[in-house]
Amino acid sequence: MSSIIENLYIFVLATFLGLEIIRRVSPLLHTPLMSLTNAISAISLVGSIVLLGEQANTLSTVLGAVAVFASMTNVVSGFLLTDRILKMFKKREPKQNANSPAKQ
């Protein structure tokens, strides 16, 4: 029972922390934000690995295999895609500013 209460504390604190952190993310980056949080929540992978590794019975092994596959796909594609998106965000080069209108 005490672990339930402990976990609820964690949940409540993480909710407040999440709301505070995410609020600060610039709308510019909302798409990479979604793919990054996606990759992070694919941490359910650890539960899936334990389930699959136990090999308790056929049902749990099959479900575990599906779960590991699905989460691993999210981990890999989530992080790689987020980075690919972020690489595209570039600042204006300063020399472009210096290019005065007079220059043809």
């Binding site: 709308p27 510019l28 334990v50 389930l51 699959l52 308790a56 596959f69 600042k91 290019n99």
Partner: protein, 471 residues
Amino acid sequence: MPIHQLSNSLPIFTSITYLVAAVLFILSLKWLNGPSTARRGVLAGELGMAVAIAGTLVLPSIESFKWIIITLLLGTAVGVPIAVLTPMTAVPQRTALSHSFGGLAVGCVGVAEFFLWHAREPEKLTHFNVGVLCLEVLLGFLTFTGSLMAVAKLQELIPTRPMTYKGQNVINFILLGIAILLGVWLTVDPSQTALFLPFAVMAMIFGVLLILPIGGADMPTVIALLNSYAGLSASAMGFVLNNKMLIIAGTLDGASGFILSVIMCKAMNRSFTNVLFGAFGQVVAKGPDAKEQRSVRSAQAEEAAEILQSCSSVVIVPGYGMAVAQAQHKVRELYDALTKKGVDVKFGIHPVAGRMPGHMNVLLAEADIPYDQLYEMDDINPELPRTDVALIIGANDVTNPAARHDKSSPIYGMPIIDVDKASSVMVIKRSMNSGFAGIDNELYFMDKTLMLFGDAKTFVGDMVKAIAENH
């Protein structure tokens, strides 16, 4: 060591890796707050994930690595091409697909866990545990099928228009009611194993029916909402497995999805219930024959280019139509050409421009448009009265002044980009057909508006050419 003890009797090494992972995940999202630190954030996330996986693989309960390795490799083999090959226009589909996978994984673990408890640890079948497990499975499977529906709609495998029938909401509520009833029954009497699979199936059916009536215009909200569900289901899994790191990671994702869906709802001036049960786009009652023929002013590319290069400030307002026409790179050329002439070019981005939150920024960044020229709606609106030309490319409803004053308009109250306050307005549009929601845009009939009819890509290309020939 059974799976439920994933946290409380963990080897100290594993516990520490989980703690480190939780810290890294939090830092990862914190660093994502701005473009300069964002990539560091991704790195932190990757590190956290690697550390947590390493800590898990050394657990003594793991009997065999064969299938773990095979499925990890399979997941990588599928994940890498998805990440590398997905075009930026298809990122919403990819995101929905990953919500679906996330929901599936969580749901599968939940089902397996329920039957494992029955088989070997009936003492775990407390009301609380089973209740949370039911929540995990409900959210997981609902997200699984609901997101697959979203993928199908975004990829246009099924019609994007809202699919409605009589009594739809009643049927949906009855289904959800049955699912909740089964869940509550299981919680009260965990020995009713026969109820569990029907419960899981109900969750999946409900996911399909929930997304069916939602139209394409609401996709940004729906994706964000499903993101939240996916996170919360992972968090519920953390409760079931008594794993605090899972709770933290899942909750962060849930909070993120929640905030994004609130932002999307506000940007469309709609409530959650309205998005989920309102079937937007049905309100188009007035037929096209009813409206009188009003005159518009139009111009060719050369004339428009002439005006653009002689003014001092331009705000470009892109909509998803720009991406559909594949015009991003031509827009970038126009940006370059005008900047060279000394024109100050900014971009005004409405929160729902694109098919998911922030999508338009990604599409413009891909075309090499510097991100410091991309302005949010609230930042660009004060600039517009001082702007010479507002150039609208492929956007419609988000620029319709009726949202501010016409109480009878379906979009009344929706925050818009105030393009009508600029000294003059140009609209690139294929024809005079009304927009996605089927609403007339009075902007087109204003005296200061110049309609530029044509395909966005061709038209912008012609303007660039005209500017280049004119130096």
